[in-house]
C-alpha cells in the first residue's frame, strides 16, 4: 500500500465516521457529498478511473440533490401539518 492509498483510505474513514456522528440531516447530506468525493479519490489512487468517474457525479452530486429535495419536502410537510393542527384547535 502506498502512502497515497493510505491517506485516501483514512480520508474515507474520517468522512464516513463524520456522517454517522452528525445528527442534522441537512449537514449530513453535505458531508455525504464530501464522503462521495473522498471515495472518488480512493478509487482513483487504487487505479480504477472508470469507477472514480461514476462515483464523482453519482456520489457527490446525484444522490445529495435527491436527498436535499426530499428533505425540503419533509420539512414543508411538517410545518404545514403544524399549521393545520394549530388551526384545528
Amino acid at each position: 500500500m502506498t502512502a497515497l492509498q493510505a491517506v485516501a483510505l483514512l480520508l474515507v474513514v474520517a468522512a464516513g465516521t463524520a456522517i454517522v456522528f452528525i445528527s442534522d440531516p441537512l449537514r449530513q447530506t453535505l458531508v455525504l457529498s464530501i464522503f462521495g468525493l473522498t471515495l472518488t479519490l480512493l478509487f482513483f489512487v487504487l487505479q480504477a478511473p472508470d469507477v472514480a468517474l461514476s462515483q464523482l457525479v453519482v456520489g457527490s452530486v446525484g444522490m445529495p440533490v435527491i436527498i436535499l429535495a426530499a428533505l425540503r419536502k419533509i420539512a414543508q410537510h411538517a410545518s404545514a401539518r403544524e399549521r393545520h393542527e394549530e388551526d384545528g384547535e
Partner: protein, 252 residues
C-alpha cells in the same frame, strides 16, 4: 427488555460477529494481491480482438454487452417508476406545474455562485461529450459520460434558474433521451444478430487501435448508453425538484 438484557444480547451477538470477522479477515489475501486470471486474460485479449484500449469499456460493451443491456433496462425501469410515483402525487397532470415569477430563481444564489456555474456548464458538457466519444480509448464510457452530461444542466439550477433548467431540459426531451438511448442500445444489438453471428456481437469494422473510430460498435454503444443515462438522471432530478416547487407553493 431491560437495558441490561439488551446489552447482554448485544454483547453475545457482537462478540460472535467479531470472531467471525477476525477469522474471515485472517484468510484474506494481502492488500493489492491479485489472483484474477480472468482480468489478465481480458487485458491480453481485448486490444487484439476489438482494438480497444480501455478494457473496462471493452468488457461492458463487448464481452458483457448483454449484462449491460440488463443494467440499461434496470435503470430505465427504476427511473420510470420514480416518474410514475411522483407524477401520481401531482394529480397525474400531464402538463408541468404552473409557474410564477417566483420560480425564476431559488433564493440564495449569489453572483459568485452564478459565475461559477456559468464556467462549469461548458466544462461539464464538453467533458461529457469527450467521455462518450472516447469510451473505447480512455477511462470513461457511456455511463460516466451520461452522469457528467446530466450534471451540466443541473449547474443551471445551482445558478438559481430552475425555469432555465426546464427550458434547456423540458420533460418531453428528457423522457425522449431516456427512451431513445435504451432503444438504441437494444437496436445496435439487433445489428449483431443480422450482420454477425449473435445478438450484440460486433458487426462494424474495428478501425486502428487508438483512433477515435475504433473498437467496432463500442463508440455507438457508448453514445447510446450516454443518452439514456443523461435522460435518466435528468428525469429523476427534475421530478424531485418539481415536487419541491409544488410543495413550496403549497399545491401539495
Amino acid at each position: 427488555m431491560s437495558r441490561r438484557g439488551r446489552l447482554l444480547l448485544f454483547g453475545c451477538a457482537g462478540s460472535g460477529l467479531l470472531a467471525v470477522l477476525v477469522i474471515g479477515l485472517h484468510g484474506l489475501p494481502p492488500f493489492g494481491d491479485f489472483h484474477g486470471a480472468y482480468g489478465l486474460l481480458v487485458d491480453r485479449l481485448e486490444p487484439g480482438r476489438r482494438h480497444a484500449t480501455d478494457i473496462v469499456t471493452a468488457l461492458n460493451f463487448d464481452l458483457r454487452a448483454f449484462d449491460t443491456l440488463g443494467e440499461e433496462f434496470i435503470l430505465f425501469a427504476s427511473v420510470t417508476g420514480v416518474a410514475l410515483l411522483l407524477r401520481h402525487l401531482r394529480d397525474e397532470e400531464d402538463e408541468p406545474p404552473r409557474r410564477s415569477v417566483d420560480d425564476h430563481r431559488f433564493a440564495g444564489a449569489s453572483d459568485a455562485l452564478r459565475l461559477l456555474s456559468l464556467i462549469l456548464i461548458p466544462l461539464l458538457v464538453s467533458l461529457g461529450v469527450y467521455l462518450a466519444l472516447h469510451g473505447a480509448l480512455t477511462p470513461g464510457g457511456g455511463f460516466q459520460a451520461g452522469v457528467v452530461l446530466a450534471a451540466g444542466p443541473l449547474a443551471i439550477l445551482l445558478a438559481g434558474r430552475y425555469l432555465a433548467l426546464k427550458r434547456v431540459a423540458p420533460h418531453w426531451a428528457v423522457e425522449a433521451l431516456d427512451g431513445i438511448g435504451a432503444l438504441a442500445y437494444a437496436a445496435i444489438g439487433l445489428g449483431g444478430l443480422i450482420f454477425a453471428s449473435a445478438y450484440l456481437e460486433n458487426f462494424l469494422p474495428l478501425g486502428t487501435s487508438g483512433h477515435l473510430l475504433s473498437g467496432g460498435m463500442m463508440p455507438l454503444n457508448s453514445i447510446a448508453v450516454g443518452l439514456e443515462v443523461t435522460g435518466a438522471f435528468l428525469l429523476t432530478w427534475t421530478e424531485f425538484l418539481d415536487q419541491d416547487l409544488l410543495v413550496a407553493r403549497g399545491e401539495l
